[in-house]
Amino acid sequence: MTRLADIWVYLATSPLLGLTVTLVAYVIGDWIYRRAGMHPLLNPVLIAVVALVLLLKATETPYATYFDGAQFVHFLLGPATVALAVPLYFNLGKLKRLWLPLLGGLVAGSLTAAVSAVGIAWLFGGSPQTLASLAPKSVTAPVAMGIAEKLGGLPSLTAILVISTGILGAVLGPTVLNGLRMRDQATRGFALGVTAHGIGTARAFQESEQAGAFSGLAMGLNALVTALLLPVLAQLI
């Protein structure tokens, strides 16, 4: 028994464990998602996050210890974002035809995301700090945190709101789009990217490469537009 405890103490301090449980949780989440016929509520990111939160709580492992291992997965977000340029390039013809409608959708979506979130939270008694942290929640995390700081919000709270928005967008978005009878892959992907940044893009790639390409484009452009628009909008209010 002490031998087993020794092994646990050794493993708990090495990055191998955090990295491995992340992959195992995701593989299980992805397996459940596929087995259930890709039911939107069984989103693999949601399953993996819930499983890992329960695991860390149960073993009383601090997030920092877990992240020592998980950071290797987290790091790949950077090169993955750069990689989004490639599918976009292969959808150039469609991008050329659709750039004006996409630009309109981008501005409308960016404003809707910020105004509706802040308005609803204000209506239900959210604190000023929460409101400022909510405003950039549809933008990719690093930019959203910077914007929140400028508006007087809490960057760390914004990070959580951004991830939650991503999961919600991936869970609810395709259902909303089906309800509206949106069949065009570029439009579907773009709407998911504006709403749910990289997590929406990951969801869009499950639909098709074209949806993923336009979703990645939307994520990048939304970061830019929101970073420019929100500080101006905040001064008007």
Partner: protein, 122 residues
């Protein structure tokens, strides 16, 4: 695989360096995506390897968000304190944003005669 990964990291590095240098309001990797997109226009530059690797890489994009998602642990009390306004704002705003974005694109596409359905058949 090796070349493709090197290319991606080089463009990320360029993006990070430029955003730091000029204090741009976008993150380095997003600028790196823009730079790579422009670079792809130089003829005969896109190796098939890059296409294959990025395809495989992006298939598992959602895995990469798991560690950040687990970060909710650090802010449990804040999120539970104001759970009602936060939850309502996030859910309603997500539904509205998807709908408004998609409907705007469809309306403008019809207005500018960019037939999205014809494009879909390609």
């Amino acid at each position: 695989m090796l070349h493709a990964l090197t290319v991606l990291l080089l463009f990320q590095l360029a993006g990070e360096a430029l955003t730091q240098l000029f204090s741009l309001p976008i993150p380095g990797p997003v600028l790196g995506m823009g730079l790579l997109f422009v670079a792809l226009f130089f003829p005969k530059w896109v190796p098939e390897a890059l296409r294959q690797t990025t395809h495989d890489f992006l298939q598992h994009l959602s895995l990469l968000f798991v560690p950040a998602g687990v970060g909710v642990l650090q802010h449990f009390h804040r999120v539970t304190q104001e759970w009602l306004p936060i939850m309502l704002a996030l859910v309603v705003s997500a539904v509205l944003t998807v709908a408004v974005t998609a409907l705007t694109i469809r309306a403008l596409a019809q207005l500018t005669h960019a037939d999205t359905r014809a494009a879909e058949r390609e």
